[in-house]
Symmetry: C2
Subunit: 189 residues, 2 copies
DNA sequence: CAGTTCTTTTGACATAGATCAAAAAGCACC
DNA sequence: GGTGCTTTTTGATCTATGTCAAAAGAACTG
């Protein structure tokens, strides 16, 4: 879905704000495997995903790649602490599919937000969505078994199971590839 | 710390905004064990904790009480999805100590936000803090062992270990009381 | 399409942490 | 200061999930 169309679902947008959005958000295309950001960089862009799939991950102390989250069509993605705090990112942002994105820089977003109250609203909306998404994860990780977490993902974002590689899904669920593979086998029978 | 003092650490506050804050945020005192919210209610207030300790928890499918988070001095607490979305809360908010709070209603917060750009900034700041806090939890729950999670809590919020009961801490860490007790014993020797 | 490499599955074994049960230690209230 | 609660600790198993290793399957590449 187009960025403006999406915004209009959240709130009504004045003509001036629409103008600001169209110039402030830059359309981009990137191929599969492209990195929007690597560990150590400051992420200065907030991305809206028109189409495609993005994975956020980090490398833990044992050198293992751990998926923090998946982001798809009609979602925003960035590394919040880096974007808002201008700090080095602990995370990588990697495209798992070719993506059509809209990107806005922090400076531009600040300008838009100050000029158009709609953008303020939208930013809050985005933050709340991110917060909600993350809250659900905690509940899952805290007290569901590996299999229950898998089922939960299956219900909430079924397409991920098809679209992302096994290893990425496993670390997202907080389990090993092997265990995920076994869960899958068990569920088929 | 006083609410205004805290706000002034985030941004400069105009005289009018100061006025709005002072009238909009109501000071409250509540005793230990009081509930600010129970499961099923809509949480219409955002709380700033001047002193005391608040626990957010829910009852899971097996009927067990699971701590979602602890909130202390100089933090904001509410149930974000309920407060922002006017939906029924899945969580309880319980005071683990006598608390001095400032409370602002959703409507009042909206009014303040629209009138004073500072409040907008502060709200975003609060959301970002909540998001950061929660992000760290995910990283911990995803790939740290029970003992590592304990150590992490010890480092980031040492006072919780003294102030909250064992069972509440255990479920926060995603483990049983018994395991937590054993971890403690192990670390003392 | 044969060879190389990456991904997923399967198997055997090890272990962190759960569960159940009971003892011990803290607290509160007559 | 004893009697009854609640909270914490300790002990003995049990189980889900991890680890290591190897096989099977897909997916690129020249």
């Amino acid at each position: 879905m187009d960025l403006l169309t999406y915004f209009k679902l959240i709130t009504t947008i004045s003509a001036e704000a629409e103008n600001g959005i169209v110039t402030g958000f830059k359309q981009q295309q990137h191929p599969r495997k492209h990195h929007l950001c690597k560990q150590g960089q400051v992420v200065n862009q907030l991305y809206y995903i028109q189409s495609g799939l993005v994975r956020m991950y980090y490398i833990n102390k044992q050198g293992k790649d751990v998926t923090y989250g998946f982001y798809t069509e009609q979602q925003f993605v960035t590394v919040p602490d880096s974007f808002f705090g201008h700090s080095a990112s602990r995370y990588y942002l990697e495209l798992l599919e070719d993506c059509a994105l809209y990107a806005v820089s922090y400076q531009e977003m600040t300008r838009l937000r100050e000029k158009h109250s709609e953008l303020q609203l939208i930013e809050n909306h985005v933050l709340r969505e991110l917060l909600l998404k993350v809250s659900d994860r905690i509940v899952a990780l805290q007290f569901l078994s590996a299999e229950e977490r898998y089922i939960k993902l299956e219900e909430s974002q079924p397409s991920i199971l098809q679209r992302a590689p096994l290893g990425a899904i496993a670390s997202y669920l907080g389990i090993t590839q092997e265990t995920l593979s076994r869960i899958r086998a068990r569920r088929l029978s």
